[in-house]
């Protein structure tokens, strides 16, 4: 086998595995099998944990005094936790370490880089020079533990996920938008198929179907009472349906998160107290359930799944948030109350009105709004996410020999300034700017290094557009003006950028990242003076090194220069 991939399997990666097996000489080693294989060969050290936590005197000095008052208890907890975690994960870590020493692994492929075991694996990957790819399996919430990704690359569904990871401190260059492979074949089905699914599920074909898909609240602020919000969500919904006199008119489906099978009894107890006919699902795919539903009440990624299946959604957040502003602060960049192309219920009145409208087939959102939202969540939505993830994996597997080994822990997540491609300076483009330009626009100005050079050279006004706010803030110190925006979404006129006002517009390795560069160029042409120029650089797919990698089996675009 040319490539061996150590994979933590998950159904949403099945299509990626199949794609790779059909096209490449690749073998998969499952994480569970690897631990089983190497576990018996381990020596199982006795793990050393400290008896006392010698925190520096000032470790808690800037914390609220509550923490200093409770330091002895906190220290005791830390020591106990270290002991427990070492016993729980130590053998697995040893087995993985031995596995990576003995197997010729080309890549570590994970759907989850947040648990102790998988985090350890990515760390061991760095120790042994093996690259790791984390394929995000959902739209991440702004929970710190979701944002700390140690893997070398993160494949995310769409722009909104990318923003979450960046604000969590991950370097933008390690994030790749691929779309969700699981959604490649996701969509509506015919009315004939709907009837067949209803029959298979034992649902009454005359009744409307309301589906509720709760998420289990694992937010740390609710850790001491995680059932509180869940119970409240369900009871508010059942009360509202009763008030709307829907008891005999609907079948009620509850679709639990796959990891919450142990909560089935909890929901069963709550539902039995009401008169609705209901069914609870946990392991099954949500797609057929969505396809037979007349409305889906949910949170998280299922919003996208429901919209892809062209069904109405109510984002059920009744009484979770104190105001729309509070909601936006927690949920964005996923969406906000104002820009959601679906119903958002923050209170019982909203819920009742929205449920009534949805069940009466009222549509308050345009196809265009929904399409725009879906692109933001799931990239191009072109059914090619599997291909993109697979090719990214192969690109990484092919380069593993060059991966730098790391033996000391360095947090991969940092808010500190990093030297990144945002601070690189191009030498080829400035040479193309001739004459005496008065005004230059650079789309994707990064940290403004090239702009600073051109501004100095031509004594001109220099305007930049940059999507990465960290880089943009840096460029603000160098350029006359910087617009922090996604250039495809921003209307530059709203930033008082006038037509016929630029001598040059520069796109340095930008256009290939856009969904629709043609429309953008058409629009931006209006900003150029009559004798203005557009300067564009894009990667050259005929570059010998890229051709070489193509011949070797990788079709992914690399980060090679032109």
């Amino acid at each position: 086998m040319q490539y061996k991939i150590l994979i933590d399997p998950h159904p949403f990666l099945d299509s990626v595995q199949k794609w790779l097996q059909d096209r490449y000489d690749v073998e998969f080693l499952y994480l569970g099998s690897a631990i089983q294989r190497y576990g018996p060969k381990c020596t199982f050290e006795s793990y050393i944990t400290p008896h006392k936590l010698n925190l520096k005197n000032d470790a808690l000095s800037r914390f609220p005094s509550w923490f200093t008052e409770n330091t002895p208890t906190i220290e005791r907890l830390v020591i106990q936790s270290l002991k427990d975690q070492s016993i729980k994960y130590g053998p697995g870590i040893e087995a993985m370490d031995l596995c990576l020493q003995n197997e010729d692994i080309s890549l570590i492929l994970l759907w989850n880089d947040v648990t102790a075991l998988t985090k350890s694996l990515t760390f061991l990957g760095k120790k042994h020079g093996i690259p790791s790819l984390h394929v995000s399996h959902g739209i991440p919430g702004r929970v710190a533990v979701h944002g700390k990704i140690w893997a070398d690359k993160i494949a995310v569904f769409g722009e909104s996920s990318r923003e979450v990871y960046i604000t969590s401190g991950n370097p933008s260059e390690k994030i790749v938008i691929t779309g969700n492979p699981y959604w490649d074949n996701w969509g509506p089905c015919s009315s004939h198929d709907v009837e067949k699914i209803k029959e298979a599920l034992g649902l009454n074909s005359d009744k409307k179907v309301v589906m509720f898909a709760p998420t289990w609240y694992h937010n740390f602020s609710t850790a001491d009472d995680p059932e509180l919000k869940t119970k409240r969500d369900l009871e508010i919904l059942l009360d509202t349906m009763s008030q709307l006199q829907l008891i005999d008119k609907v079948d009620f489906l509850v679709k639990l998160h796959g990891g919450h099978k142990d909560k089935t009894d909890f929901y069963e107890r709550l539902l039995k107290a009401h008169d609705f006919s209901y069914k609870i699902f946990c392991d099954s795919s949500p797609l057929p359930l969505i396809q037979v539903s007349d409305v889906v009440l949910c949170a998280g990624s299922m919003v996208v799944e429901t919209l892809l299946a062209k069904k109405p959604v109510i984002y059920h957040a009744c009484e979770h948030y104190l105001s729309p502003q509070h909601f936006d602060d927690v949920i964005s960049p996923f969406f906000t109350v104002d820009n959601a192309p679906f119903y958002v219920a923050l209170n019982r009145v909203d819920l009742s009105r929205n449920l009534s409208r949805a069940l009466n087939n009222r549509s308050d959102f345009s196809d265009e709004e929904i399409k725009k939202f879906l692109h933001r969540q799931n990239g191009p939505c072109d059914g090619k996410a599997t291909e993109r993830v697979a090719e990214l994996a192969m690109e990484m597997a092919g380069t593993n020999k060059n991966t730098e080994k790391r033996v000391k822990f360095i947090s991969p997540v940092s808010y500190e300034k990093r030297e990144t491609y945002y601070s690189n300076i191009r030498e080829d483009i400035p040479a193309m700017i001739t004459g005496s330009p008065q005004r230059i626009l650079e789309v994707g100005c990064a940290e403004g290094a090239m702009g600073e050079l051109l501004k100095k050279r031509h004594q001109c006004e220099y305007v930049g557009v940059e999507i990465n706010s960290e880089a943009a803030h840096k460029s603000e110190e160098r350029l006359d003006r910087v617009i922090i925006a996604d250039v495809e979404k921003a209307n530059l006129k709203e930033y008082h950028i006038n037509e016929l006002s630029f001598d040059y517009i520069i796109y340095g390795d930008v256009l290939e990242h856009l969904y629709d560069p043609w429309t953008l160029l058409y629009e931006h042409k209006k900003l150029l003076k009559d004798d203005g120029y557009v300067v564009v650089s894009i990667p050259n797919v005929r570059n010998l090194k890229i051709i070489e990698s193509l011949v070797n089996g990788s079709t992914a675009v690399t980060r090679l220069k032109i």
Binding site: D97, A116, A223, H326, D329, S411
Partner: protein, 218 residues
């Protein structure tokens, strides 16, 4: 710094700042919402308690990179500002003017403002404890309306979660002597974060940081 020069409270605040704090504040003051929040504090709180503090002047000094006070300057907190009295007065104001507390909590929904406020609390911590957990301890909860009580309670929960998370992701960098707490080179501190935060939240349920017995709201 000539010790005979008149010392403004905003000079005192500046004397507490590290270089990193200054960079942070300079970035924060680019955000209009943060500036509005500062001016609101000056107008609604400091105007009654500390008229000599001028937030606008402070912001301008930070933004214009005005030279810092000498680092060996010592704050005479007890003589220049009676910090205990000052804190008592802040809490008294909050207890008297419920709208003040409510507006403060509204401001904190904004992401930039809450980040700024947490950092300001840290900076001030050697002389004043203005973090929400400490303030809420001293608020007379029985006098709060249900909605304001819930609003404060939710904020305190969020703040507790924030500081707890911060602790679990930093303690292993703050040990007084370097200890090898790892298995095959894998550092147990960082990988145990998730389990530890859960342990912390379970060990300290809400009532530990919120005076539940004094609370009338649902």
């Amino acid at each position: 710094m000539n010790q005979n020069e008149k010392l403004y409270p905003d000079d005192m605040l500046r004397s507490l700042l590290s270089e990193k704090d200054i960079l942070f504040l300079r970035e924060s003051f680019k955000d209009q919402k943060v500036v509005s929040f500062c001016l609101w504090i000056e107008d609604q709180v400091l105007s009654e308690l500390l008229t000599e503090f001028n937030f606008r002047r402070f912001i301008n000094n930070i933004q214009s990179d005005k030279k810092l006070l000498s680092r060996d300057f010592t704050i005479k907190s007890s003589s220049d500002i009676r910090t205990n009295d000052f804190m008592d007065n802040i809490v008294r104001l909050m207890n008297e003017k419920k709208l003040l507390l409510s507006t403060l909590l509204d401001f904190l929904y904004n992401r930039e403002v809450i980040v700024f406020y947490r950092r300001l609390s840290e900076i001030l911590s050697p002389i004043l404890e203005v973090d929400i957990i400490t303030i809420s301890k001293r608020i007379e909860k029985k006098s709060l309306s249900i909605s304001l009580g819930n609003k404060l309670k939710e904020r305190v929960r969020l703040e507790f979660a924030y500081w707890a998370e911060r602790f679990v992701s930093s303690w292993y960098k703050d040990l007084s002597q370097e200890e090898d707490i790892s298995i095959k080179g894998v550092p147990i501190g960082p990988i145990a974060e998730y389990a530890l935060i859960t342990d912390l939240m379970l060990e300290f349920p809400e009532k530990c940081y919120w005076n539940q017995e004094d609370y009338n709201a649902v």
